[in-house]
């Protein structure tokens, strides 16, 4: 068990969004405001950690032929629970995240971690993997939504920074999502290569 290595993998070298390129749909769609980014990131982290723990616990019980079906049932169960709990206790977040909470079911990050890590690991490393990968995902959402909200709407977490007339509306649209994500992926590649080259 190596927490430092797992954290580094989740945040940088195996970052789910910028390196593994998983979960693009939700990343592009919800990062228009910072509160959305945090809400989605936290929800995915919680669901990822829970599903990793349970899939790891059930890994010897689940037969290989039906493993994907079992993972989907476990993941969908947790997603629906988080959805209901958000609607009941945090209605504002539930409303702004809208359809993307149910869509976490098919978020490839969760299925990918279940298949490639949790199904081969003990519960504790699987839980840490869920948290680290979730943090990596949340971090990217946070950076993307901060850029898009600041430049696209002229606000930072709802507080106005400069008048809306000067904001680049385009960044709040899907095209802005692709541009921001592309720049971030390029930046990540550049940094990683630079660090490797230095060694």
């Amino acid at each position: 068990m190596n927490i430092g290595k797992q954290l580094k993998e989740g945040l940088v070298t195996q970052n789910p969004v910028l390196v593994q390129l998983l979960g693009m749909c939700s990343t592009l769609a919800i990062t228009t405001t910072i509160s959305n980014g945090i809400g989605m990131g936290v929800s995915v982290t919680i669901i990822l950690t829970l599903s990793n723990i349970f899939i790891s616990l059930l890994r010897k019980f689940i037969p290989e032929q039906v493993r994907i079906a079992c993972y989907i049932v476990v993941i969908a169960g947790f997603v629906t629970m988080v959805d209901l709990l958000l609607q009941a206790f945090f209605p504002d977040i539930a409303e702004s995240l809208g359809v993307f909470i149910p869509l976490i079911v098919v978020n490839c990050i969760i299925l990918a971690r279940a298949e490639s890590f949790a199904s081969k690991s003990k519960p504790l490393p699987a839980a840490i993997d869920g948290i680290c990968q979730g943090l990596g995902y949340t971090m990217v959402l946070l950076v993307m939504s901060a850029i898009r909200e600041l430049l696209g709407a002229g606000t930072f977490n709802g507080a106005r920074v400069f008048p809306a007339e000067y904001a680049a509306n385009m960044l709040a649209l899907p095209v802005g999502g692709f541009l921001t994500l592309g720049c971030l992926i390029a930046l990540m590649q550049y940094i990683q290569r630079k660090v490797k080259g230095g060694k």
């Binding site: 049932v73 209901l84 609607q87 009941a88 409303e95 709040a172």
Partner: protein, 198 residues
């Protein structure tokens, strides 16, 4: 389990048709589904009343925003297209108007609104309850109360409200024509629903 595997594994290593194995995988899947369903049932029991209360409070807040009244009585009867519910607004034991709940399509999805109509057939207020319009574009219509307030006082006296044309016109917000059309359609449906009653 081991006996049939020895004979079958040589030819078909990837998949076993042994009935015992098939029963086992079915049983495991069924067990996981049952446990998940049970847990979901429990969570639903806890959250359902809260979610209902929150949605009801939101609806009532929107209704009192478009036409303040003491109570809203659900109207039973045929409703035109796009009107999902119609309430009679009572204040001091007297009907002061109607509140129509409408659902029309905007540019990205359904726009759900509350439209208040006075007894004189004029719009008293419009409030958007739920929408999925594009942030910073469609929201210039559906999330901007000053735009929605432009409907106040409009009626069907000179025919239906039309977007950017005619005598009973509503000027669309530039860049958000489809969202504007969706909202206008909802107001028209509300006025039509109230109009058919009198």
């Amino acid at each position: 389990m081991s006996k049939p595997k020895e004979t079958a594994s040589a030819k078909q290593p990837a998949f076993s048709l042994d009935p015992q194995y098939i029963l086992r995988i079915t049983g495991v899947l069924l067990a996981i589904c049952l446990v998940t369903a049970l847990l979901l049932g429990i969570v639903n029991q806890i959250t359902a009343p809260r979610i209902d209360a929150i949605q009801k409070a939101k609806k009532e807040a929107a209704m009192s925003l478009v036409l303040p009244a003491d109570e809203y009585v659900l109207w039973e009867g045929n409703l035109p297209a796009h009107v999902t519910a119609l309430y009679l607004a009572n204040s001091g034991g007297e009907g002061i108007g109607w509140v129509a709940e409408t659902a029309t399509s905007g540019s990205q999805g359904t726009i759900e609104m509350m439209v208040g109509v006075g007894t004189d057939g004029k719009v008293t207020g419009v409030s958007v309850v739920k929408h999925s319009e594009t942030p910073n574009i469609g929201t210039k219509v559906v999330a901007d109360q000053s735009v929605l307030d432009r409907f106040t006082g409009m009626s069907h006296e000179n025919g239906e409200i039309t977007v950017n044309s005619g005598s009973n016109r509503f000027d669309a917000v530039s860049g958000a024509t489809f969202s504007s059309r969706g909202v206008v359609e909802g107001v028209n449906a509300a006025l039509a629903a109230v109009g058919q009653l009198s």
